[in-house]
């Protein structure tokens, strides 16, 4: 078999790199609308492990689970426009930590809400996007509704490519107005009705650094304002403002011989609640014969606790939360994504295991008894009308 070898010769390298700038070789045609209508459906399940008896008053108990069904439609409209419609239905049930108390032995334990939570959420999102010579711009509206929560969000984004097509600059702004209207059940709530607003800006740069490698950077700022307290957690009292910064970077490298791509991503997060976090993602996207692709991935996450996080409430503090999501911890998740394309169809399956522990983090802090481990798996089917 005569297979072209790697481009090692200087002349060949010069010719090849010059050729690759031509439109025919720019396989990622980001700035042309999709050529065909695409339809996708997906079911996924999020399933938290039971809480251990030694971490909860009243013995071990089931936690939260969420069933999600999603529908996606993307269609070209005229030459330079596309529209997309995304609808998601979520069914949530189970118990979640209500508050943390001190056990007879002195160790903190969680009091669960009881298997009383039952909620459904519907989210409808519409996007239209305009494609021009060297970029694209989109506007999105999302409405989300559940028993105790409604949200309206608008986002605008744009991307602009450099003249040589090797660098893409992107930016986005979004705003969301949420209304919280807690359902009154067996546990008292922290509010009867409240509002919150979330505004964020994001900008990023993606650079094709070589024929096979791509590098990206992003920066974002989010400002949350309003009722940021969890309405269902006992004595939760959070500031009514939160300013968040995040910086991210990612690297993709395609390897010819194994026909695979390595993805490495890192994200740094910091906010004025003193939460700081690091996320590292590594994925290996392996192409296999017959249009199969298998992607194993692993993620490490670690965060510092919020300045007002305590397991046991100390009287006199203005702000307090025992929410495990604001505690210091480290988490590993690992999983596998599988994809197979045949004709106009594409099927995909993914599974992810998430495990967390206070001792896995790089920050020290009080260990929350409410830390959660979970499974997530999903199955999807896509069709292209061509």
């Amino acid at each position: 078999m005569a297979r072209p070898k790697d481009d090692r010769n200087a002349s060949l390298l010069a010719l090849t790199s010059s050729a690759l700038l031509l439109p025919a070789y720019q396989c990622a045609q980001a700035d042309a609308p999709p050529e065909f209508t695409e339809l996708g459906m997906r079911y996924s399940k999020y399933d938290e492990d039971d809480i251990l008896a030694r971490k909860a008053f009243g013995g071990g108990s089931e936690r939260y689970e969420i069933d999600v069904a999603q529908f996606h439609l993307l269609a070209p409209v005229a030459d330079q426009w596309s529209v997309a419609l995304d609808v998601a239905w979520e069914d949530m049930s189970g118990a979640s930590p209500w508050f943390v108390g001190e056990s007879a032995s002195g160790s903190p334990k969680v009091i669960m809400s009881g298997a009383s939570i039952e909620d459904t959420r519907t989210e409808v999102s519409g996007t239209t996007r305009y494609y021009y010579d060297r970029g694209n711009a989109g506007i999105n509206y999302t409405y989300s509704d559940e028993d105790d929560y409604t949200s309206h969000a608008v986002a605008v984004d744009g991307a602009f490519n450099s003249e040589d097509g090797l660098t893409t600059y992107s930016a986005a702004v979004s705003t969301s107005h949420d209304n919280i209207d807690p359902t009154q059940g067996s546990i008292p709530t922290n509010t009867l009705n409240a509002r919150k607003d979330i505004n964020s800006v994001w900008m990023g740069v993606t650079r094709i650094v070589s024929k096979r490698a791509l590098l990206r950077f992003g920066l974002s700022y989010t400002y949350r304002d309003g009722f940021l307290t969890d309405p269902y957690k006992g004595d939760d009292r959070r500031p009514d403002e939160r300013k968040e910064w995040a910086a991210s970077t990612g690297y993709r490298h395609f390897f010819e011989a194994p026909n695979a791509a390595l993805h490495v991503d890192y994200r740094y997060f910091n906010d004025d609640w003193d939460v700081e976090s690091h996320t590292v993602d590594v994925a290996w996207e392996q192409n296999l014969p017959q249009n199969f692709r298998v992607t194993p991935f692993i993620r490490y996450y670690t965060q510092q606790e919020a300045e007002f996080f305590y397991n046991i409430e100390e009287p006199g503090y203005e702000h307090f939360s025992d929410d495990y999501r604001l505690s210091a911890f480290g988490a590993f998740s690992y999983g596998l994504r599988l994809r197979h394309d045949f004709g106009n169809w594409s099927v995909n399956f993914d599974a992810e295991r998430y495990k967390t522990d206070e001792s896995w983090g790089i920050y020290s802090g009080e260990e929350s008894p409410g830390l959660v481990d979970f499974w997530r798996y999903g199955f999807g089917l896509d069709y292209i009308f061509r």
């Binding site: 297979r3 072209p4 070898k5 010769n9 060949l12 010719l15 010059s18 700038l21 003249e163």
Partner: protein, 295 residues
């Protein structure tokens, strides 16, 4: 595209094949209409008509990309690959066995020279009246790659585009290591001198023994040297395999323009599969069948 063209593809449904084929064919046609020097309303004709008039012609990103590429090929070939050298064909009549008058050749030489071409990202200008750009040296190969890209974009899993001998494959057909393709014999055109399996990438050939000219017992090829204006006395045929048909084509053309010894060395150093046939019809290169002279 100056010769028979064909598409071979592997698809699951007939409907998908039709749209994909239409997209590939219209892509080749688009490039032909845009760059052919034989069509009066092509961009190439507009550029050539405006030579020496003082008015540059507007170009798009694709044309600027091709000019950039031609510049790289010109530099890498030490000035041999030159899109302006086509004008020399005015002096040569390959149908007659006669050399032109030396003064006719010399009168054309000032019109040749890539270094004279003035181009920016959005315009190109030939400063002398009578100068000509000829994209023929790269557009057919580029069109093969571009048509293959269209097929890929339309979901065709494996395809081979063959534009009169310049080929681009998207992927090997299922169950086979590659598309079986033959490299034409330079003399008996219907016969293959070598067979290769092309898994993906491009295969391009340069050279045409039949169109050579014999003057005073010396054989001249039809490829003209941009500085002397005379046909090069180099290799008879060269085929190169590379990731892009465009790159394969320029490598084959550059090898044809070099003196034979230098060309063989240059091809060997390139690090890609190749086949060259010299004036004695001896075969060289990694694709040359063992113990099988082209004669």
């Amino acid at each position: 595209m100056g010769g028979p063209c064909r598409l071979r593809l592997e698809v699951t449904t007939r409907g998908a094949a039709d749209t994909a084929i239409a997209a590939a064919v219209s892509e080749v046609r688009r490039l032909e209409l845009k760059y052919s020097r034989y069509l009066a309303d092509s961009l190439t004709s507009a550029i050539n008509r405006s030579a020496g008039t003082g008015t540059p012609v507007s170009i798009d990103a694709e044309t600027a990309g091709l000019l950039d590429y031609a510049n790289t090929a010109w530099r890498e070939s030490g000035g041999l690959f030159d899109l302006t050298s086509g004008v020399l064909r005015r002096a040569w009549d390959f149908k007659s066995a006669r050399a032109p008058e030396q003064r006719d050749i010399e009168s054309l030489l000032p019109l040749v020279g890539w270094e004279q071409v003035q181009w920016e990202r959005d315009s190109v200008y030939l400063p002398r009246r009578g100068m000509e750009l000829d994209f023929g040296g790269c557009v057919k190969e580029y069109a093969a790659d571009s048509a293959a890209a269209q097929l890929r974009r339309h979901g065709v899993s494996a395809a081979l585009v063959d534009l009169a001998g310049d080929m681009a494959a998207t992927a090997a057909p299922s169950g086979a290591p590659g598309w079986p393709v033959g490299i034409r014999h330079p003399v008996s055109r219907e016969q293959a001198v070598a067979r290769v399996l092309l898994p993906e990438g491009g295969l391009a050939s340069s050279g045409d023994y039949e169109r050579c000219l014999v003057i005073d017992g010396t054989r001249y090829g039809h490829i003209l040297h941009p500085r002397t204006g005379w046909p090069v006395r180099g290799l008879v045929a060269v085929s190169v395999l590379a990731r892009q048909c465009l790159v394969a084509g320029s490598a084959a053309t550059i090898a044809m323009l070099k003196p034979p010894g230098e060309a063989l060395e240059w091809l060997a150093n390139l690090g890609v599969p190749w086949l060259a046939i010299d004036a004695d019809l001896a075969m060289h290169g990694t694709l040359a069948p063992v113990n099988a002279p082209a004669r």
